[in-house]
């Protein structure tokens, strides 16, 4: 380990480590790419890929992100963008959960869908994509439907979960699991021009407030469909919330829901002062 650190230091004279040096270090000392990156960050050596995270993410924070684990539940319209952004940001461990496979009607919006991978499992496409953009990220895929029974085990490693699911009842199950595990849940949902985002902290029961009055399991997306830009914007807001949760920074969308109307270009923040608070 000492030799590895000395080697990394010798290869990072300006405090920056390029990818070739990371690969050579891994080969030379028989460590995984993840372990090499972790050791570098721990020593305050910054992989060049994170250079443009600039002063916004300090080196200590970059190390913290790399030690973090996020579960992305759902790998469709929202999940694809959330995973892409977290991998580029430098979140070290991702658990990706989805049972579905890509179909032609996903191509209008789902980032990881392509002509080449139609018929393939969404989680397989996701892990391939992450390995292409950031091989130091450790990805665990679970090709199963999320439910409340398996949920506790599925999310056992996560510091925070992203709700990128489809439908209403399964989201309530996810919210319940997160509450039991006492981890924050960053919720996003879309329908046509519309979207909503919030962060539910343990004990807040925000998703119950959002959905308990719904008498249907599918929202307006059933008739409105989903456009390319709505998941991109909602997922980006979710990724920003996840980043802040992990770094304990800024103000979260907790105790309030951000309702987005891209048709009228209105962003309405609604307080969730509910019967639970």
């Amino acid at each position: 380990m000492k030799e590895l650190i000395e080697y990394l230091r010798s290869r990072a004279e300006t405090g920056l480590l390029d990818w070739n040096a990371q690969v050579e270090a891994a080969e030379k000392y028989s460590f995984t790419m993840a372990r090499v990156e972790e050791m570098a960050l721990k020593e305050g050596i910054l992989p060049v890929r994170y250079l443009r995270n600039g002063s916004t993410i300090s080196r200590e924070q970059q190390f913290r992100l790399f030690q973090s684990s996020v579960a992305v539940v759902g790998c469709g319209g929202l999940g694809g963008y959330v995973i892409e952004e977290l991998a580029r940001l430098g979140v070290g461990r991702l658990t990706i959960i989805d049972y579905d496979f890509f179909e032609e009607h996903n191509l209008n919006r789902q980032l990881f869908s392509s002509m080449e991978n139609l018929g393939q499992a969404k989680v397989s496409a996701a892990v391939k994509r992450v390995k292409k953009i950031n091989p130091a990220v450790t990805v665990k895929i679970i090709e199963e439907k999320f439910d409340i029974l398996k949920g506790l085990e599925m999310l056992s490693e996560a510091h925070v979960a992203a709700d990128a699911l489809d439908g209403i009842s399964v989201r309530l199950e996810l919210a319940d699991v997160c509450d039991r595990l006492k981890i924050p849940l960053v919720h996003g949902a879309i329908a046509g021009w519309y979207g909503q985002v919030l962060t539910q902290l343990p004990g807040e029961k925000s998703l119950e407030t959002l959905y308990r009055k719904s008498v249907v399991d599918t929202g307006k997306e059933k008739e409105l469909g989903n456009l390319p830009f709505t998941p991109a914007i909602v997922a980006s807001l979710q990724a920003a919330e996840i980043c802040k949760v992990l770094l304990n920074q800024g103000s979260l969308l907790s105790g309030r829901v951000l309702h987005i109307d891209l048709l009228e270009m209105e962003f309405e923040e609604v307080p969730l002062s509910s019967i639970f608070t």
Partner: protein, 74 residues
Amino acid sequence: MQITVKLFATLRKGRFKVSSLELVPGTEVGQVADQLKIPREDLALIFVNGRDAELDHVLKEGDTLSLFPPVGGG
């Protein structure tokens, strides 16, 4: 009595964004939704003066009622 109703997303279609309604005292939220011909399955979030409210909530003079449809796609 007069209340203000704010509608969001698809609920605006064929209706309005914001409107003042003249109601008889004792009117409940659900009755306003019926009057506006908003089907039950189109209601997810109901706020009265920014607070989460139920369909049987009795409205008062000067209240602001905000209604949102369910959004659940991913």
